[in-house]
Amino acid sequence: MTSPSRTDLREELAALAETQPFSPDAAAWDRGRRARRNSRVARGAAVLAVVAIVVGVGAIAVRPDRQSVAPADVPGGALPSRVDLRDADFGADFETDFAIGRASVALGGNGFVLVDAEDGRYHQFGELADVLALSPDGYRLAWWSGKDLEHDSIRIADLRTGEITDVAGTSESASVTSMTWAPDSARLRWNGWGEKGARVAAWIDTTGSTEDIDVERFGARGIPSPSFDVVALDSGEEVAAAPFERAPEPGGREAGIPVDRALPADLHPDGAVVTPVGWADEDTLVAIIDPPPSDVVERPRLALLTSPDRPESEWTYREFLPRLPPEATSFAVDLIPDLTGDPDQQLTRDFTVAASEDSSDGDRGPLIAGALLALLAGLAFIRMMQKRA
């Protein structure tokens, strides 16, 4: 084969090419710049999508487990963020083994119910309880089932071992009206009516000893603070200020000194029934606050309120755990974390979320795989956009 005549071929090609006119299109620049803007927007959106996916995948991958949802400084459980018997999934039979571990809430009624502090599950027992009290640490439950029943005595269940102790010391004809644990969760005080219609009270030590006390003396009623310097009293009715008693001076009167602690009037202009349930710390009472029924407030809630022993300038008031059912009367207040003063501090745990997180553990794999696929698709899209550019 011979090579073509480059000059001749080029001349012929050039002559052919000369037949092509050229008329510049003024829109070319605008079209190009518009395409540039669109490309940038699309690329930005793709980058955002990829970033969102990466963040999402990261969040899923490193999402803390349910333990870290709990208040960090309360080992062994937490108060639930809601108490509602409709959440309970009771079996066909009542439970009989009290060795359920730590409880957070006790609900009275026909067959009382304990809420598990670890997982929020509800345990229903067939025992009748006119009066019941869960210890501040959540490991002991005391109840009295009323007169004329098989167990006409105060019973205390150790929720660690399931062991039940029938406590002697209540006279056969006494009626128990209330029981209160001391902050140490080792002593239980009961109040009631004696055989002759007189008020009676006694401290029961879980080791077995019992001490009758003078019902007129300071500490014979209400819930004492850890130092026993202040006692919080039931208001019994709607009040504008929560009633307390301060310890009397040594050598002086034996009864406590009444002292009030005002409720926030802006929250409860019509007052509220105050029912103490324990002390979160020496200066902070935990109480059920039950304002009058209204369109806004339907059910009671828990509240933290500073002891009147503190200067009024230090008083704080915070409500939590709203919409308490009337059966929820006793709480393991030791499960409230050490208070930091942060109004947003988490005081309870949402066990429904924790349960769904647990149940979704098996589904996390496909979720991550899907997210990774989306991530790869996003990267491919960006690469395609770059190639087109």
Binding site: R10, E12, L13, A15, L16, G32, A389
Partner: protein, 163 residues
Amino acid sequence: MTDRSGFDAFVRARGPALARTAYLLTGDHHLAEDLVQAALVQAAKHWERIETSPEAYVRRTMYHQNISWWRRRKLVETPLESYDAPVPAADPTIRLTLEQALRRLTPRQRTVLVLRYFEDLTEVQTAAELGISSGAVKSMSRDALRRLRALAPELADLVGADT
């Protein structure tokens, strides 16, 4: 000089030359116009990046775009049975014969021919422009000339003759 005015100046100065190449690449006046415009739109899109040497970018875009367009159109290309049929010698001029024969080449063959014999690029430069090997350029160039001779034997003086 602003971006827009620089682009306009480039189009005014080099547009006609680009259009001529485009015609040889496509073998069709309308397609050539579209090809130039498409390449210029791409140039405007990336002007900040290419403004120092826009012509090289536009030409390369045309080369690749033409082959890409052909791939999309090839389902309606001329059937193969008439592929090597000689061009009717209705037109007496060599130029018209060459024009018709060029249209019967594949875009790739035509592009190689244009780069080698119109743009005067070497095999290596042509290979670099098209992103293929020098051997492929050589092979395609030989095939293109052979086909031209087959399509129009009267072009033998122009494209060389088989030994």
